[in-house]
């Protein structure tokens, strides 16, 4: 059965892809893009290094605009990112019977609560899978065993999260450096291949 993993090139979504492939799913890695920046490139490269199919899921600009509205109104990113992620899941569920992401047990954002998950699965006739059964300690260890990882301050070369385009749009709307007041800079790791045996 076909399964899509919403894919940023990071450890979590890479591990989810590996688990689903090992369980026999035909996995496609899918990176959301709003057409503002080619921020999918890092994920496409990670996917190719791991030998997975990769696709860009073009989502209309209004979705990121609405998400950024939430973020600017709130002064913090959580609700806006949640909004964008829910929309991405809904759109992906039109093309795949199984959709997944790398949400861990200890992740806060983006994360659907159990009633949101039930409603997504029922309304869209889709199965939605996450890494909610695994904590960060376990995922870090598994990632260390499986993947070669590169760590860097978040930037377009190293990450394909929504955050790259969100930052870009915020700075465009409110002037340079606005985004870095709302999103503190942080390190990001990207999977750049399998671990050498």
């Amino acid at each position: 059965m076909k399964a899509c993993v919403l894919y940023s090139g990071g450890k979590d979504s890479s591990l989810m892809a590996v688990i689903l492939q090992k369980l026999g799913y035909s996995v496609e890695l899918v990176t959301v893009n709003f057409g503002l920046l080619p921020s999918w490139r890092a994920a496409a490269e990670s996917a190719s290094k791991l030998g997975f199919q990769h696709r860009i899921l073009e989502v209309e600009k209004t979705v990121i605009q609405e998400g950024v509205d939430f973020i600017l109104d709130d002064g913090f990113p959580n609700n806006g990112i949640d909004y964008i992620h829910r929309k991405a899941l809904e759109i992906a569920s039109k093309s795949y019977p199984v959709i997944a992401d790398g949400t861990r047990r200890d992740d806060r954002v983006p994360k659907l609560d159990s009633s949101e998950i039930r409603s997504l699965e029922d309304l869209k006739s889709v199965e939605y899978l996450t890494l909610a059964g695994f904590g960060h300690k376990t995922i870090n260890k598994l990632s260390e065993r499986l993947f070669t990882v590169k760590k860097d301050l978040i930037n377009i070369e190293n990450n394909s999260d929504y955050e790259i385009e969100i930052r870009h749009l915020i700075d465009q709307l409110r002037g340079e450096k606005t985004a870095s007041r709302i999103f503190p800079e942080h390190m990001q790791s990207r999977v750049i291949g399998w671990k050498e045996k």
Copy 2:
């Protein structure tokens, strides 16, 4: 790395075992027993059919007695089963760096909430993994693809859950048929081998 899966012979814990093995863990399936009945036999047979190592984890009778006290006081099984499961996890965490069970996203009992999980992991220096990222629909489909399953009313031949010994102890304490007033009879599926290719 060694990992223990608390194992009943059912689909959920069998799937957890398969996922961990595919991720490279050296998996041991462990069935809790309180010495009241040889209710571990069904799980041992399932484990052997799947080719996994199996061990009985003998837990002292006071644990099931305390659990049954909760159940008789409450008139329903949830808190008592939760209590027994937490104790089982604590005991297993003395012998394994990674402990797991087949708790799904939509399971209610036994289930640890996120602060209980954090405290278990921190206090016992253990990683605790579940199937909380997967719903019942997905697990049923995966189980159908992977396993041969036998469905029956719950009984000692077909199941190694805590429930078998709990029912036995309740009937011993309060007279025959008391347990079936507290636990409604229900169907239970047991994994009896890999799916024929």
